[in-house]
Amino acid sequence: MNKPWVKWLMVLIGGLLLGGGASFLLAKQGSPNGSNILMWITQAFAVLWLLWGFWIGRNVPGMKTVGAMVIATLCTAAITIPMLSSRSYSGYAIVMIGIWAMAELFVIGLWLIRLLLSGGHPVFGVARTLVDEAIRMKIALIFIIGVVLLIPVLPILIDAQERLDYRVKFFLNWSMGGMSVLLSLMTVFLVCGSICGEITRKNIFMTMVKPVSRIQYLMGKWLGVALLNMLLLAVSGVGIYTLTQILARQPVSNPTTPQIELGAVRYEVLTARQSAKAVPPDGMDFAGELQSRHERLRRENPDEYGERLTAQQRKAIQNRIIAQWYAIGPNESQTYVFENLQPAVERNLPIQLRFKPKMSKAPDDEMVRMGLWINDRPYPIYQGQHIPTEVANDNFHVMSIDPAYVDDQGKIKLRIQNVNLMAPEATFPATISFSPGSGLEMLYNIGSFGPNLARSLAMIWVRLGFLAMLGVMAGTFLGFPVACLLSFMIYFAAIASNYLKESLRFYAGYSDMNVNLWEKLVLIWGAFIGSIGDGKYWDAFKIVIRLVGEMFIAIVPEFSTYNPTPLVSDGRVVSMGMLGSSAIWVGLVSSGFCLLMAWIIFRRRELAKVTV
C-alpha cells in the first residue's frame, strides 16, 4: 500500500467516482449545466492526474515512451476533434490523425521488434543494436520521420479539381514511390553507416572478440535493417490503405456524372485486375504463316536462309507476323480472342478493354475511328444503332464490357474494323496498329485492393532486403561514402536495367539484334577494329563503354520486372507468383550472392589493420 503507484491509482479512482457521482446527482436534480461543468472538471482532473502519474513514474523503464504516446494522443484529439467539424480544416485534421496513428504504430512495432530480438543470440544482439542505432542516430531517423510524414501529407498536395480516380492513382503512385525511395536511402545509409562506422570507430573490436562469427555479424546487421524495413512498410501500408479509403470517399470532380469517377476508382484503381492478352482465333494458322514466309525468304535469299531456320531467324519472323497481326489496314478488320475470363463472370464485375490505337498517318482531328464487334455482335449499341468507337490517337483508352459477354469457355472474341467513314473528306486510308501485349488487353478483377497492396509491399521488402545485403557487402570492404555510392549505383542500375540496356544499344552503334553471345563478341570486336581503322577513336571508346555497361547490367538483377508500384496504382494484380518469383530471384539468388561475396571478403579481413 505504500507504493507510490497504488496511492496514485487510488486518488484517480476516488476522484473519478467523486466527480462522476456528483455530476450524476446534479443531473438527477435537474441541473444539467452544473452536471456538465462538473463532468468537464472531472475529465480535466483525470487527464492532469494521468500526466502527473507519468511524471512520478518517469524512471520506470518504458514509462517515458508510454507517457509520450498518451500525451501525443491527447494533443492530437484536442486539436483534431474541433477541426473535423469544420469543412475547410477537416483535410488537415486527417493529416494530423494520419501522422499520429503512423507514429504510434511505429512505436508499438518497435517494441515488438525488440521483443522479437530479445533472445540470447549474437545475430539477435547485433540486429537489435542496429535497430537502436537507427532510431537514436540522426542518419536513419531522418528517413523514418520522412516516411511517417510523407504519406499523411500527400493528400493535401493533390489538386482537388482533378478526377477522383486520378487523385487516388496519384496518391498511390507517389506514396509508394516516395516511400520506396526513402526506405532505399535509409537502408543503404543505415547498413553502410553501421558497418563502416563500427570498423572506423573500432566498436567492432569489442564484438568480434566475442564468440560471434563473421557471418553472424553480417546476418545480424541485415536482420536489423530488414525488420526495420518490415515495420516501416507495415506502418506505411496501414497509412496508405487508410488514406486511400478516405480519398476514395472525397467529392468527385464532376458531380453531374459521379458514377464515372466512382466506378473508375472502384473497378480500375482500388482493385486487383488480371490482364488477358489477345490470342489469334482458332482458324488462324500461325505455323502455316511461318512456313510460307520461310519458304519465300529462302527463295529470295538462299544464302542466308537454309532449310532450317535458326532460333534468331524464327524469332524475327514471328515478331513480324505478330506485329502485322496487331495492325489493321484501311477498311480491314482483325479478330482477337481473350481467354480465361471466368473469374470476371464469377465475380460479376465489369471487364475493361484497355487499348492504345496508333494510326500510321493520323487525321487532322487526331481521332481514331473503329468499329467493334464482341462475339460477332456490334458493340456498343445505343438506341438500336451500332456506335463507332471514336478515340484520341496514340492514347490509352478504357471501355467497360459487361461480363455477360464472356462465353462458356471463358472467352471473349473481339473484332476491330478500321473504319474511316465518319469524316471522309478529312481522312485518308491509314493503318491502325496496337503495340503487341499492353497495346490491347482485357482486364478483369480477381482480387481486392488490400491484399494486393500487402503483396506489393512484401515485394518492396524483398527488394529492400537485397539492397540491405548489397550495403552489407559494400560495407565489408569500402568506406562509408564509397560503399553508399556502389550500393546506389547497383540498385539504380537494377531498377533501370531495361532502360539502360536500350540506352547502351543506342549509345554505341552496332546492331546486335538476334545474335548469340559468340556472334556478339565477334561483332563487337569487328566494330571496334573497324572504328580504329577508320580513325574513329571516339566511336571505338564508346564501344568499350557499352561493353562494360552491358557486362555490369548482366550481373545486376532486373528489378524492373519486380516493380509493384505502377501495378498497384493501375489496379493490376501483384500475384503470389510474382511475389514468389521475386523472393526467389531477388531475395534468395541475388541477395544470397551478395551475402556470399560479403562473407568471402569479410571472413579473413584484418579488422585492426593499419595501412601506413
Binding site: 523503464p61 540470447g120 567492432i204 573490436f205 564468440p211
Partner: protein, 433 residues
C-alpha cells in the same frame, strides 16, 4: 624458444603446450598502400602465459604491446610466427567464449546506455534473459555505475567508460582476461579497484594478460612481466626477479629515537655493516586521496559520476580447488593481521661488504637480526604461518609492537592483500564477501 626454431618445431611446440597463451616467433609488419613493408610493429617475439598467471606486458608507446594483443585476439594476422590461445588458433570462435577483453580505449556504442551495453555483450555469449539481468545487475554494482545505468554511454566520462568496458570484459566469467591499459583515465579509486579486482580474479584462478605502460600498475599486481621495446621483448621474468636489490636490506620497525638508532648502528658496525639511510616513510598520495573521498562519502556529498564500486560479481567463478581457496583465505587472514600494525619507521641498512660470500652473509644477517630482536621484549616465538614462507624471521606477525623484517623472496608471486581490500571496501562503503 627462439626465432631460429623451424616452422615444424614451432607448430609442435604450440600443440604440445599447456600454456593459455603461447606465441612463438611472432612478427607483424604493417604495409603501406603499395604493399611495401613499412613498420615492423612486432619483431619475432615469443611469449607464454601460463594458467592462473597474471602476466604483464610492459613497454612504452609504440612498443608493440597492443599489436601483440590484437594478434592474440584474432583482430590482426601475424606476418609470421604462431599463436595458440587456449590451445586453439586465435580466429577460432569457440575460444572467444572463454576470453574477456578490455581494449586500450572503450569502443562502446555511444547511443546505448550502460545496461543496454552490457546486455548486448551478454547476448553475444548466448545468455538468456534471466542470466543477463543477473549478471548485468551484479556488474553494474561492481563497477559503481548503478545510479547512471540509464544514461547513454556517450555522455560518460572516460573513467566511467573504462568501468563499463571492464564490466563487459567480465560478462562471460572469462578464463582468460586480456586488459589493454585498464587504468587509463581512471581516478585513483578506480585504479585501486582494478588492481584489487585483478588480484581477486587471479586468486580465483583466472589467467590475466595485462598490458600497460604504467609501471606501478604492473609492479603492484603482476607475477611475471615482459618488457617490450621496438617490437621486441627486451627482458622477461617475475617482478621480484627483475626488481629485487639483493645487495640491500630494509627493516621496518615502530618509530625509533636517536639513541636506539645509534645503538643499532653500533651493533651493525660490530658486524661490519653501516646504515646508509634512516628516514620516516611517507604516506602515499593514493592513501591520502582515498581518505579524502571516504570523508566526502561519509558526509553524504552527492556526485553525478561513478559511485564507489561494490563487491565482486558473484558469478565470476573460482577455478581453484576448494583446498586452495581455503588456503587463500587463511593466507588472507594472516596478511590482514599483519597489516593491522601501526605506522613504522623505515630503516634501510646498506652492507659495507657486498662482496661477502652469500652463505656467510646469510648467517651474518641472522645474527644481526637475532641481536636486534633481543634488544626489545618479545613474545615467545610463534609457529610461522604455513602459507607464508617469506616470514622467515623470528618476528611475530600478530604482535603489533614487534618489528617486521621485509626480506624479499624473489620467486614468491604476489597474493591479494586482504587487509588492503578490506580497507578499501570499508572506505568505499562496499560490501565484502
Amino acid at each position: 624458444m627462439t626465432s631460429a626454431m623451424t616452422s615444424q618445431n614451432q607448430a609442435q611446440a604450440v600443440e604440445n603446450s599447456h600454456d593459455v597463451i603461447r606465441c612463438i616467433g611472432l612478427t607483424k609488419i604493417f604495409k603501406d598502400f603499395w604493399m611495401r613493408n613499412r613498420v615492423r610493429a612486432v619483431d619475432s617475439i615469443s611469449i607464454n602465459v601460463q594458467r592462473g598467471e597474471l602476466f604483464g606486458l610492459l613497454g612504452p608507446n609504440g612498443s608493440g604491446k597492443s599489436t601483440t594483443i590484437k594478434m592474440i585476439l584474432g583482430l590482426l594476422h601475424p606476418t609470421s610466427g604462431r599463436i595458440s590461445v587456449l590451445g586453439k588458433r586465435p580466429e577460432d570462435v569457440a575460444i572467444k567464449k572463454m576470453i574477456g577483453y578490455l581494449p586500450e580505449e572503450s569502443y562502446l556504442y555511444r547511443f546505448l546506455n550502460a545496461r543496454e551495453t552490457l546486455d548486448y555483450y551478454a547476448r553475444l555469449f548466448f545468455q538468456n534473459r534471466l542470466q543477463r539481468k543477473r549478471r548485468v545487475d551484479m556488474l553494474l554494482e561492481m563497477v559503481g555505475l548503478e545510479a547512471v545505468q540509464r544514461r547513454p554511454v556517450g555522455e560518460y566520462s572516460k573513467g566511467m567508460q573504462r568501468r563499463i568496458g571492464l564490466a563487459q570484459a567480465l560478462i562471460n566469467d572469462p578464463h582468460l582476461l586480456i586488459l589493454d591499459e585498464p587504468t587509463t583515465g581512471l581516478d585513483p579509486i578506480g585504479t585501486r579497484q582494478i588492481k584489487d579486482l585483478l588480484l581477486e580474479l587471479k586468486s580465483r584462478g583466472k589467467t590475466i594478460l595485462l598490458c600497460s605502460h604504467l609501471l606501478s600498475d604492473v609492479e603492484d599486481v603482476c607475477d611475471r612481466v615482459s618488457i617490450m621495446y621496438g617490437g621486441k621483448v627486451r627482458q622477461e621474468g617475475t617482478v621480484d626477479e627483475l626488481l629485487t636489490k639483493q645487495e640491500a636490506t630494509t627493516l621496518e620497525v615502530p618509530g625509533l629515537d636517536d639513541q636506539t638508532i645509534e645503538e643499532i648502528r653500533q651493533v651493525l658496525a660490530a658486524k661490519g655493516y653501516d646504515i646508509s639511510r634512516v628516514d620516516h616513510p611517507r604516506q602515499k598520495l593514493e592513501s591520502l586521496f582515498l581518505d579524502i573521498v571516504h570523508q566526502a562519502q561519509v558526509e553524504g556529498i552527492e556526485t553525478s559520476g561513478a559511485r564507489a564500486g561494490g563487491r565482486i560479481a558473484e558469478f565470476l567463478s573460482s577455478e581453484l580447488p576448494t583446498a586452495s581457496s581455503e588456503s587463500e583465505v587463511s593466507r588472507e587472514q594472516v596478511l590482514d593481521d599483519l597489516v593491522k600494525s601501526k605506522p613504522v619507521e623505515k630503516v634501510q641498512v646498506q652492507p659495507d661488504q657486498p662482496q661477502a660470500a652469500s652463505v656467510d652473509k646469510a648467517k651474518a644477517d641472522d645474527d644481526v637480526l637475532a641481536s636486534l630482536t633481543q634488544t626489545k621484549p618479545t613474545s615467545p616465538p610463534q609457529p610461522k604461518p604455513q602459507a607464508e614462507p617469506e616470514a622467515q624471521s623470528p618476528v611475530e606477525p600478530d604482535q603489533p609492537s614487534s618489528e617486521q623484517v621485509d626480506t624479499p623472496v624473489p620467486t614468491q608471486p604476489k597474493k591479494p592483500v586482504a587487509g588492503d581490500q578490506s580497507v578499501l571496501d570499508d572506505l568505499l562503503g562496499g560490501k565484502k564477501d
